[in-house]
Amino acid sequence: MAETARALPLSGSRVVELGTDLAAPYCARLLARFGADVIKIERPPLGDPLRRAGPFPDGRQDPEHGALFLALNAGKRSATIDVTTPTGRGLLDELLAKADVLVENLPAPEADAIGLTEETLGARHPHLVHVPVTHYGRTGPYREWRGAPLTASAMGGVSVGIGRPGGRPLTMPFSLGAYQAGLAAAAGAVVGLLARRRTGSGQTVDVAEMQVWGTVHTGANILTYLYLGVTGIRQGNRGIGLYPNEFLPCKDGFICLTCTPLHHWIAFLDCMGQPEWAENPRYRNRRAMLEEYPEEVDALLVPWLRGHTRDELFAMAREKRFPLAPGMTVADTLENEHLHARGFFDELAVDGASVRVPGVPSRFSGLEPEAPTAAPSLGADTASVVCELLGRTPETLTQLRRAEIV
């Protein structure tokens, strides 16, 4: 693999993060892993609320050991500055003059109030790549609306597609939307840096979680819906298009079966010992099977599937070359030998114990992302940021602390 890297792509780039919760911190963590110096600005006295959210080891609440916070903020520096005070705002301004990227997720009115807008930043810090990452974006009638991954998944056209036909729509689970928004924001930050090489100026890269869902994830379906009709959006355990594209039970759990090209379907039927079905028009026409009588075909498949474990079925699929996956839980994912053989997981220390977190899914032949280091305690780097970077004296720092600005 890599002949270890010299410089990383973002070495020497400075990122200021005014981020809380998941999306903005995830964006900045991705940039940190590729070499950026990330300074996370937290509001005193409590800092990022994610510090006080879980999961905690054995459920014991402890702001030093919120595992998700530790994972999302590994490799950053933390400085506490109250940017809502004029003095704090001034410190931020000085910091932005020395930064390449600002990642923030402030509610729009707060961002407006301290001048984190396209107009103000464009005038004061024309070199800066400003990346607001919010649920609905910084423009449009919903810019001040409140949000959560649930509402972004709903607005982005994702939830309407998950669940039983006619049944309650299901959201994308967990905070997947925040991770999508954070990833899009990290990519957008690099677009901003590449563009700056040509144009000489920064810009605002406005990232909206619902927009990432509505373009990257569901956007390519627009024409299909327009031309083929907006019906039957939720299909329960089935996909749309051709049969079989389903999540089905087996002997010891579930499998996902997607044999929509004819040669894959034939390979599956061979495994089942029913190759002659492929000669029968009723079981050869995969579109008709999906759209007209999927239950009938399921009823033929499931008894056979129930006779085999997910691992047996997976092994058959590998041998006969068709896509079928064993229904894995997150516990299975953590133990998976393939992921371990590729060295995918990173180790993270939480309260003295070591846990595994997802690593970088891309292996670069010529560079090695930084391994995650410990996340900073609240304000751990305030002194170095205020004194070394911004040139304040220790006495000034003491005054700022007394005034509760830092």
Binding site: P141, V190, V191, G214, T333, H338, F364
Partner: protein, 415 residues
């Protein structure tokens, strides 16, 4: 539009991508590069059509599953907008030679084949690097280029299943449904791929060095599962059919509204938002002790959801969302694509863009995920016709004569 404006609008203009991607994950990745101005040359072949060139066509009702309507496929247009198409038969030596002549002109080479396919076609990274030392090559395979399961075949649903995500999709207390409408395994992989290519371009700008990137869709799908992976390791909980429930927030769900299959999403983050919600609803149950704080709302979540739904179910979701947002509570309509077309916020953010297709006329495609204030990118063309740009690539870029190109078409090399 003047040349200068064009350059300013397109941050990746000047980069050229030789694109072997097909189906969904890869094309979704490379169209984002094209939207930002990269010149993406899609390499395809009539003898092995991209899967999204099959299926039910936009015009006519014949099934195109056997490849009768490759240029009239709605999904193909959305996933391949802004790209150029060349048709090259890679099973012929002359076809592979032609590709090797294009490589020196390309900054990036992309594929989403199974592991090892590019190498077997004589287009592995080592070969590409010999042709162009600073080339960036990215392979977006299902399980990565090495490891004991690198040979498996995957599609988006099996990627989500391998990651442990499908198991979480379903109604609480029931077997998992396991299915996601957006092909998350693909689309998530595509966004990770864009990020990786952008990083490699920035690295090349700084050092002059190219790169091979081995990106696993499976690993990419695990990346967003940090919360349940940590929750399992620290608290022993295995995520299964999690529904709309949230670990901390209640109410938190999609609630039925007036109309056919209309729903509103409501997420109440804390006690202050709960009081605001109660003030809007104004019914006695909102003030009951059993819902007074977060712990009690979580403990009595099911009754709370039922009561809340009796309130939402008489009203259209847009009205509920507006009422609640005005009061400071997170809410949004569970939108279909039709809802999105009618929505002012979507219009304002240019989430749908009209573009001309040579056979179909005006089409509505999705916008760009980022709103870049100075270099926004553009949707310039819909998906290309098969081989629409053979003359440009082989004539203008490689300098071949019309006769040569004609001969290659007749010899079924450009086919």
């Amino acid at each position: 539009m003047s040349g200068d404006v064009q350059v300013a609008a397109l941050p990746l203009q000047g980069y050229r991508v030789l694109d072997f991607c097909w189906v969904w994950a890869g094309p979704a990745m490379t169209h984002l590069l094209a939207d930002l101005g990269a010149e993406v040359i899609k390499v395809e072949s009539r003898s092995r059509l991209d899967g999204t060139r099959l299926g039910r066509p936009i015009i006519g009702d014949v099934s195109g599953d056997e490849g009768q309507a490759p240029e009239l496929q709605p999904l193909n247009h959305g996933l391949n907008r802004n790209k150029l198409s060349i048709t090259v038969n890679l099973s012929k030596d002359e076809g592979r030679d032609l590709i090797r002549r294009i490589v020196p002109l390309c900054d990036v080479v992309t594929d989403n084949f199974s592991a090892g396919v590019m190498r077997r076609n004589g287009l592995g990274y080592d070969t590409l690097k010999e042709i162009r030392d600073d080339v960036i090559a990215l392979s977006l395979s299902g399980a990565g280029q090495d490891g004991p399961l690198s040979d498996i075949l995957t599609l988006a649903p099996t990627v989500s299943t391998l990651a442990g995500l499908s198991y979480a999709i379903g109604y609480p207390g029931e077997d998992p449904l396991g299915r996601l409408m957006p092909p998350y395994g693909d689309t998530n992989g595509s966004l990770h791929g864009v990020f990786a290519i952008l990083l490699a371009l920035e690295h090349r700008e700084r050092t002059g060095e190219g790169q091979f990137i081995d990106l696993s869709q499976w690993e990419a799908a695990v990346c967003g599962l940090e919360e349940p992976l940590l929750d399992y390791q620290l608290n022993g909980r295995v995520a299964r059919s999690v529904g709309n429930a949230h670990a901390v927030m209640a109410p938190h769900g999609n609630y039925r509204c007036a109309g056919d299959d209309r729903w509103v999403a409501i997420a109440v983050a804390g006690d202050e938002e709960w009081r605001r919600l109660g003030a809007v609803i104004g019914e006695a149950w909102c003030a009951e002790d059993r819902f007074a704080d977060g712990y009690r709302r979580l403990a009595n979540r099911e009754e709370l959801d039922l009561l809340l739904e009796t309130w939402t179910s008489g009203q259209p979701p847009e009205e509920v969302a507006l009422l609640l947002q005005t009061a400071g509570v997170a809410a949004a309509t569970v939108m279909t694509i039709e809802d999105q077309f009618l929505d002012e916020h979507f219009r304002e953010r240019q989430m749908h863009v009209e573009v001309e297709h040579p056979l179909v006329g005006l089409e509505m495609l999705h916008g760009i995920p980022w709103r870049l204030s100075r270099t926004p990118g553009t949707i310039r063309t819909s998906g290309p016709l098969l081989g629409q740009h053979n003359d440009y690539v082989f004539g203008s870029l490689l300098g071949m004569t019309a006769e040569e190109i004609e001969r290659l078409v007749e010899a079924e090399v450009l086919a």
